[in-house]
Amino acid sequence: MELRLSRVVLRLWVAAVLLFLFVPIALVILYAFNDSRIETWPIAHYSTKWFSVAWHDPEVRSSLWLSFKAGLFASAIAVVLGSAAAFGVHKYRFFGREAVSLLLVLPLALPGIITGIALKSTFDYAGIDLSLLTIIIGHATFCIVVVYNNVVARLRRVSGSLLEASADLGAKPWQTFRYVTLPSISTAVVSGALLAFALSFDEVIVTTFTAGAQNTLPLWIFGAIRLGQQLPEVNVVVVGVLILTVIPVAIAVRLTGRAGIR
């Protein structure tokens, strides 16, 4: 009896947590289909007209495009630098290795506002105008961490005897890298890149400091909410961001879960 009771309580608890997490999101999605300009409950009429309005809004379009480019380039940089750092830290034992590996992960733990201010003053100091480039650099700081973490975790799981077996069968170090190491970590790199893209796509704080006059999609949402004029459109755009973030994250989770070393 006691066991059954605790099981019921546990289930209710999980349900409550899930509700707490997802009801607000569900509300936003519902409101995106609200016909009226004013958010009232219950929703009187449903319509998809705001989707069309948002799609044809040039501001939304340009900020969507900007976010997309920023995410793409930031994750590309992250893939190159993050994997390289992961190889270095994994393969070589050098003085200060632990410190380097901590420093690499730090940007993710650091409050975005610190990263943002630091980058902004650096750009000011160096005389670099805020642009797409500065957004990309800002996003890359935390995207690199995501890829690095993913790849380092996978490298730890690749058994050392695989690399020895490859060398034993006549493969030179670059061949071992090409035919054994790379295929073993490829899914980790891809899932890291997808997570990085998702993070970049909805980043607000660092972007605020590095974007200059242009708006990324989250910045546009932020501004529109403050002005309060385009709430229905905001709901639609949020749904869009939601989809564009959830899809890469879901793929990334599948890749990491399934394609381990079996």
């Binding site: 058994s159 005897s161 020895e164 077996a165 034993d168 069968l169 493969a171 061949q175 035919y179």
Partner: protein, 356 residues
């Protein structure tokens, strides 16, 4: 080369190891090892874990650099060469199959690296898979195979390259008993078929005795004895070998320590006529253990110490196991059936040394 008239020239050793030393931190893994392994032989390095046998194998493969000493393959010094420039292949204890490749690609890997052309590769991989009894499984992923099958793939992947030496690191360790016994026979067959020198590492003395042409017994980074299985078993030269390979009684007689195998100790009726040529000791049977083929008796000797003797159960019920317990017997053994043993100082004086 014409040596028809002169002395027969010994064939060059497949592997010659000279003065090998290797330490890991404070642990001495190899403490001065000299060894020559002949071409085409099934050579086993036997020893308990931590005795240096696996380090030895890894030094031959090139995964470890010795601190001192040289490794020669067919007369060529390869000590400084990386693994990919040595004509040896390894079957790893954990198989180390590439998980992202199917069986076919795993087996072809070495050939692909050596740029053997595609059709030739297919042919040789198919032959290797056939040899290990896995024909037709080329498209499976390693994760879809049983432990025994993976072991065979690892073997095929190494053999397909036709190396001059094949190194096997406890390859049967992860298999269950029946499978292991089957593979022992098969490994021996494969070795005879392909004629490659096998260097086999194991801690299982039965495995070593069954398969090998010669055995080196390792202990604490050194080789205690090298010889054929029969020599190792019948004429162990050190106390360690006598204890590690099979079971031995260590007996003092006339100021010398001898090792005598339990099956060569006879138990006699104390009232009967004793053979004059034998060494005789009176005692009492304290324990009998029925082992199926054999029954094992422990005899407490009247003048101290004990002896283990076994007898085959040749007839059904010929010796019901309780028959002898508590009985006075004479344990008899022939001097020419025993071996002189160098005693290590700390163990001298103990009479019975047993080991699994």
């Amino acid at each position: 080369m014409d040596h028809a008239q002169g002395e027969p020239q010994p064939p060059p050793a497949a592997i010659r190891l000279t003065g090998l030393r290797k330490r890991f931190g404070d642990t001495v893994a190899l403490d001065g090892v000299d060894l020559a392994i002949r071409a085409g032989e099934f050579f086993t390095m036997l020893g308990p874990s931590g005795s240096g046998k696996t380090t030895m194998l890894r030094v031959i493969a090139g995964f470890e650099q010795p601190d001192a000493g040289t490794v020669e393959l067919h007369g060529e010094d390869v000590t400084q060469r990386p693994p990919y420039l040595r004509d040896v292949n390894t079957v790893f204890q954990d198989y180390a199959l590439f998980p992202h490749m199917d069986v076919q690609d795993n087996v072809e890997y070495g050939l692909r690296i050596r740029k053997v052309d595609r059709s030739r590769r297919r042919e040789r991989a198919a032959a290797a898979l056939e040899l290990v009894g896995l024909a037709g499984l080329g498209s499976r992923k390693p994760s879809e195979l049983s432990g025994g099958q993976r072991q065979r793939v690892a073997l095929a992947r190494a053999i397909v390259n036709e190396p001059s030496v094949l190194l096997l690191d406890e390859p049967l360790g992860a298999l269950d008993l029946k499978l292991r016994q089957g593979m022992q026979v098969e490994l021996k067959r494969i070795q005879r078929d392909v004629g490659i020198t096998f260097v086999y590492v194991t801690h299982d003395q039965e495995e070593a005795l069954t398969m090998s042409d010669r055995v080196a017994v390792f202990n604490r980074g050194q080789i205690e004895q090298v010889g054929s299985p029969v020599e190792i078993y019948d004429r162990p030269t050190t106390e360690f070998v006598a204890g590690f390979v099979g079971v031995s009684n260590l007996v003092s007689h006339g100021g010398q320590t001898y090792a005598i195998r339990p099956e060569r100790v006879q138990l006699l009726d104390p009232t009967g006529v004793a053979p004059t040529s034998a060494v005789l000791s009176r005692g009492t049977v304290t324990d009998t253990v029925f082992l199926g083929v054999l029954t094992r008796y422990t005899v407490a000797l009247d003048d101290g110490g004990s002896l283990v003797a076994v007898r085959p159960n040749l007839e059904r019920g010929s010796l019901s196991e309780s028959d002898l317990r508590g009985q006075a017997v004479i344990a008899a053994w022939q001097l020419d059936q025993a071996t002189d043993i160098e005693m290590s100082a700390d163990l001298a004086g103990e009479h019975v040394e047993e080991s699994a």
